[in-house]
């Protein structure tokens, strides 16, 4: 190796004067000392970062699962129809395998046939024989069917107000539960609740029906007062006279029978009936109801007669211990039952 090349390479050998001159000139651009280094910011440990990664991944996974579940939850614009027995028909055509019904479609069963409507993962509606059901509306969070005649049984695990069932004389609104509705050709019928609560209403007339109770309905009148199915026949007859009889809530005789036949459990009927009665009859009912379950502190007889203390009435209802009408999540078992 030539000396000049060696000097250029490792500063050994004969120095090259020109290279030495360059070294001398350019060395002035070199810092004399290594300056103070930068202020180092605290760095997250790898473990912390790993935790963040896992948390982010878990959040993404939960989001994806939530989105998938939400998608599967809703029934979509076309509900799946399953033939359970016989030959159900959609718009006069037999239900084919993988049959579906959209808004406006009519599902009919004869005396030999039964069908099942699947509402995604949200639940199912069983269509009993001799029934006519129209799908009125279906969109996210709002589904509506009309039972023109016959019977249906619904099981749902969904937020309140998700499903409505119109009948010729009242509308049943699901508050998160299992229930059945039956109406005859004239439009009379009943609602029966087996889990949770259902609101049964026509115009301003309303009945909140808890599990184990039933409420009748009549065309032109609307829903009657809810009652437990194990109440006495005399109690039920008296209630029917009050709700649908000629003298209606003015029937003091029927009211007398009702009060005398009432058990502790029947306070549900009494409290439902209280706002329907004329003010002159409310005192008797309040007295009996107070014996069965004392009203909350601050709720007086005058409040009952005047019908103005709604918070007090709500507190009385709460004392029944039947659960929150909107607490649909506690009925989670119903959805598994519906998927079987």
């Amino acid at each position: 190796m030539m000396d000049g090349n060696r000097y250029l390479w490792d500063k050994t050998g004969e120095p090259d004067p020109e290279l030495q001159r360059w070294e001398e000139l350019l060395a002035r651009f070199s810092p004399r000392e290594t300056p103070i280094g930068p202020t180092l910011p605290a760095r997250e440990s790898r473990r912390t970062k790993r935790v963040y990664y896992w948390l982010a991944a878990a959040a993404c996974l939960l989001f994806a699962m939530g989105a998938a579940l939400r998608s599967a939850w809703q029934p979509g614009p076309q509900w799946k129809v399953v033939t359970v027995a016989g030959t159900p028909r959609i718009d006069n055509r037999p239900v084919a395998s993988g049959g579906r019904i959209g808004a406006g479609g009519m599902l009919e069963t004869d005396r030999h046939s039964r069908a099942r409507l699947r509402l995604g993962l949200m639940g199912v509606i069983e269509i009993e024989p001799n029934s006519r059901v129209r799908l009125v509306e279906t969109r996210a969070g709002r589904h509506r069917i009309a039972l023109q005649s016959g019977s249906i049984a619904a099981r749902l695990w969904a937020p309140p107000w998700t499903l409505s069932v119109d009948t010729p004389s009242a509308t049943a609104i699901d508050l998160g539960c299992a229930f059945s509705v039956r109406v005859d050709e004239k439009g009379s019928g009943y609602l029966r609740v087996t889990s949770g609560w259902v609101q049964f209403q026509l115009n301003g007339r309303r009945a909140i029906v808890p599990a184990g109770a039933r409420a009748f309905t009549r065309p032109g009148v609307g829903p009657g007062t809810p009652f437990f199915e194990d109440s006495s026949s005399a109690f039920q007859l008296a209630l029917e006279r009050l709700d649908f009889g000629d003298r209606g809530y003015q029937d003091a005789s029927a009211l007398g029978v009702l009060l005398s036949e009432s058990r502790a459990k029947d306070i549900v009927s009494l409290l439902s009936l209280l706002p329907r009665l004329p003010a002159s009859a409310r005192g008797m009912l309040f007295d009996r109801a107070s014996q069965l379950l004392p009203p909350p502190a601050g709720f007086t007889r005058e409040d009952a007669l005047g019908g103005t203390n709604q918070p007090g009435m709500d507190a009385w209802w709460d004392k029944l211990g039947l659960g929150d009408a909107k607490n649909w999540l506690v009925d989670w078992r119903d959805v598994f039952a519906s998927l079987r």
Binding site: N5, L8, W9, D10, K11, T12, E18, L19, W22, E23, L25, L26, A27, R28, F29, S30, P31, R32, E33, T34, P35, I36, G37, P38, T39, L40, P41, A42, R43, S45, R46, K49
Partner: protein
């Protein structure tokens, strides 16, 4: 918590290179290389785990390389600040470095990108430094530096390391991660081209 990267001891000569390192005796060379690789691996590993004293050691070892890379690309007055930025970035991104022995080349790439970003931001043209306030005798030095900066990238960087920072070819190879042969070629071709240009040859 704020931490400062330590500097070299006051009074020490940063340009001094141990003669033993430059001229190892026969049979010792491989041992020295292995020891240095192990030391580098250890320092990078510790710094990656958050040890700021290990990062200080890396800073001291590689500062001149970063300084040279920046000086060959950006105005002299911006070099110190940019060097700090380069090491800050290195500190932040160090956990992503897989091979500790590749630290030099990895740091070099950060410095190159940093200088390119800086030039883009500041919209510099060819004139990198103002030489309006030159000290007597500096004019020739500025002219020489300007000529070095006009060399192709690989040559100018290696020449700045050799003539500004005073490193030898083997030291340049060790710091930058380039092979000794590449460094040798860059030095020889760079010097040859610089000589031609200084004699008024092709520009």
């Amino acid at each position: 918590m704020e931490r400062f990267v330590a500097t070299s001891k006051s009074g020490s000569n940063p340009r001094a290179t141990s003669p033993d390192l430059l001229h190892p005796k026969n049979g010792e060379k491989e041992n020295i290389i292995a020891d240095e690789a192990g030391e580098l691996r250890q320092m990078v590993g510790a710094a990656r785990a958050g040890d700021d004293s290990a990062f200080s050691a890396l800073y001291r070892r590689f500062f001149r390389m970063v300084h040279a890379i920046l000086l060959s690309r950006v105005p002299n007055g911006d070099v110190d600040d940019l060097a700090q930025e380069v090491f800050l970035q290195a500190w932040r991104r160090l956990p992503a470095l897989r091979d500790p022995l590749a630290f030099g080349g990895w740091l070099r790439r950060i410095a190159v990108h940093q200088s390119a970003d800086h030039l883009r931001r500041e919209h510099y043209t060819e004139q990198l430094d103002s030489n309006s306030a030159l000290a007597p005798g500096d004019e020739e030095a500025w002219f020489l530096l300007a000529e070095v900066r006009r060399l192709p990238e690989a040559y100018r960087e290696t020449l700045v390391l050799r003539f500004v920072e005073g490193l030898t070819g083997p030291e340049i190879a060790k710091l930058t991660g380039l092979t000794p042969d590449s460094v040798r070629v860059n030095l020889h071709r760079g010097v040859k081209l610089l000589r031609t240009r200084l004699k008024g040859g092709a520009r």
